[in-house]
Amino acid sequence: MSTDSNSGNMIEIDREKANFHYDVEYKHDAGMGLSEDTIDYISNVKGEDKWITDFRKKALSVFHEKKMPTHWASEDLNSINFDEIRYYLSAGEAPKRSWDDVPNEMKETFERLGIPEKERKFLAGVEAQFDSEAAYSNIKDAVAEQGVIFVNSSEGLAEHADIFRKWFGKVIPTGDNKFSALNSAVFSGGSFIYVPPGVKVKHPLQAYFRINAEQFGQFERTLIIVDEGAELTYMEGCTAPKFETTTLHSAVVELVAMKDAKIQYITVQNWSANVFNLVTKRGLAHENAEVRWIDCNIGSRLTMKYPGVVMKGEGARGEVISIALANDGQHQDTGAKMIHAADNTTSNVVSKSISVGEGRSTYRGQVHIPKHLKGCKNNTECDALLINSKSRTDTYPAITVRGNKHSTQHEASVSQVSEEQIFYMKQRGLSEAEAMSLSVNGFVNDLVREFPMEYSVELKRLIELEMEGSVG
């Protein structure tokens, strides 16, 4: 179903950096709608082993069996029409190791988003996914020489089947929720990373997920295994142009931190306002290992995302630091899941949400400490900032702590940027948008400091753009 207009013809540009898209010739298109045929199509294009096709088909039936979670989540989920989504679109080319070999439209897309420049400046490797498949994938030689593997999920399955299969679907089983089942059925793209014992990857690896096509679903699957005593920082960025129709992004990300390993996973998403972003992310932390999720959610129509850490080994640590910004017509339903499954495990959740206009933020937390354990600690902090009275925020912290040999702390606050404050700032010459972004940046400042420098600058800029948009 490729379009017939000129390749590389730009259809739409807006003041927002990410709001543009190209007409691209897709060689492979699974068509609209979801059935076993869709899966056969995807498996066939990818040349997958039978066990993967079977895995996918089983997942499809789980997806069909599971109800939409609208008994607790937003009714808006019902507006997703699964028959009007394309589940696989690709140009049919293997990811390139050099930007020069990447097809023009895709290369231009990533150049406009500043990816090659960032790669040169401070990244150890980049994977850039365009719709269903990576267009570019490269890891710096020095890092590859240490034995670090950084490829897309298909290549991971094909080339590193033993280790891939060992952990695939183990941290997040297919049936974890309706959308993890959907992803398990039609997944494509995403990263597979393996860091050998003792290797500390100095610079971050980065993945960039770009949705270019309309009425499309992106279902990347990421699996990261960091072996004993090794360390990795991984960053993902996500954008899509503004379309009239809804777009679906439903990823599954599984992290495995072996004994004494450290993983830091950073997300900066800036989805346009028609994207349903329904993502399942969880890490498994073995003895003395650390998994940190740093998650920044800007944009989308509805985001549902609760990164989790299962602390399986003694002394393991889990952390979720999240910023969510809900503008008019948006709902950020985010949170964290901390499962303590060994003694002396520690978890920390800091969540800050901003609701602007009619934007809505929800925090859902789950902290689970069973009775037979001792010495577990959790700290949960959720703060909400409301900009103008129509905003809405809800907090559902569920902290289940059994036994008395643990320590938990929970703090929550809601604050307002009042008209008086805005008036004061405007009287000093700031526009309403500048006043609001100053307040918002002030509110999230301590969390933004957790981001690498290059990203904190970008984050501030994103917040400014978002505020400009909100006052029209």
Binding site: S415, S418, E419, E420, Q421, F423, Y424, M425, K426, Q427, R428, G429, L430, S431, E432, E434, L438, S439, N441, G442, F443, N445
Partner: protein, 252 residues
């Protein structure tokens, strides 16, 4: 046309008339004081000029160097050169004093031009030193947890940094101790120039000993009922306002 001119201004809040035909003209280079009983409309006047959303202007005009402010949004008025030192300054959690001032200065530059950070900090530290403000205030959130006097000093710091054409000081002296009063007055006096006009709202003649006004106006029930030289302030201190209220609208 180098004046801040208020012409027959009528303004109300929630349907209640507060300003009832107020006229006043502050030429550049002059300092005018406004005195008047509690509730007479002094802060209302200041906020109406600045464009506060709660107040509705019924009729009249406010002209800054000949241009009507009433057509402009709050921030445009500010950038046009109007500064208001608030009687009760708002607190802005999370936004540091330095970042706030920097953003306010940046907002006055043309698009694409960036503030010189080094020069900015140097200037800010110098002006803070003049006001006897500790450097630690740059890192604190704007006015958050500041004492009454510290807030007032901070207002004056902002005025010194933003160098407005016209500054309205609403009871900047209240809450200041005697030493601080002198320091703040010196700050204001240092800014007095042919290029700048001041409207100083106060209850106390003491401030006017330090910031000597060119004219004193008495505001009562939304109107100027008396205007005179600086000595009028002394007379008010002695006699209160009642003698004026009886013989309203007598000009000396």
């Amino acid at each position: 046309m180098s004046t801040l001119e208020i012409k027959d201004l009528h303004a109300s809040v929630n349907g209640t008339d507060i300003l009832k035909g107020l006229s006043l003209s502050v030429p550049k280079g002059e300092v005018h004081a406004i005195m008047g009983p509690n509730g007479s409309g002094k802060s209302t006047l200041a906020k109406v000029m600045a464009g506060h959303q709660d107040y509705e202007v019924g009729s009249g005009d406010v002209l800054l160097d000949g241009y009507s402010l009433l057509e402009m949004d709050v921030d445009e008025r500010a950038r046009a050169g109007l500064f208001l030192a608030f009687q009760y300054p708002a607190e802005i959690p999370g936004v540091s004093n330095a970042n706030f001032l920097r953003a306010a200065r940046q907002a006055r530059l043309p698009d694409g031009e960036e503030i010189d950070a080094v020069a900015f900090y140097q200037e800010m530290y110098e002006k803070m030193a003049k006001l006897g403000m500790d450097k630690k205030f740059t890192g604190r959130s704007v006015n958050e947890g500041f004492s009454g006097g510290e807030k007032k000093r901070n207002e004056v710091l902002q005025m010194m940094m933003l160098e407005p054409k016209y500054a309205v000081l609403d009871e900047t002296d209240s809450g200041l101790d005697i030493d601080a009063l002198k320091i703040v007055a010196e700050g204001v006096n240092a800014m007095r120039s042919e290029e700048r006009g001041f409207l100083v709202i106060t209850h106390y003649q003491r401030l006017l000993e330090y910031i000597v006004p060119d004219h004193v106006h008495v505001l009562n029930e939304g109107r100027i009922i008396r205007s005179g030289p600086k000595e009028l302030a002394l007379e008010l201190e002695e006699k209160g306002y009642d003698w004026l209220k009886e013989g309203e609208l007598v000009k000396s």
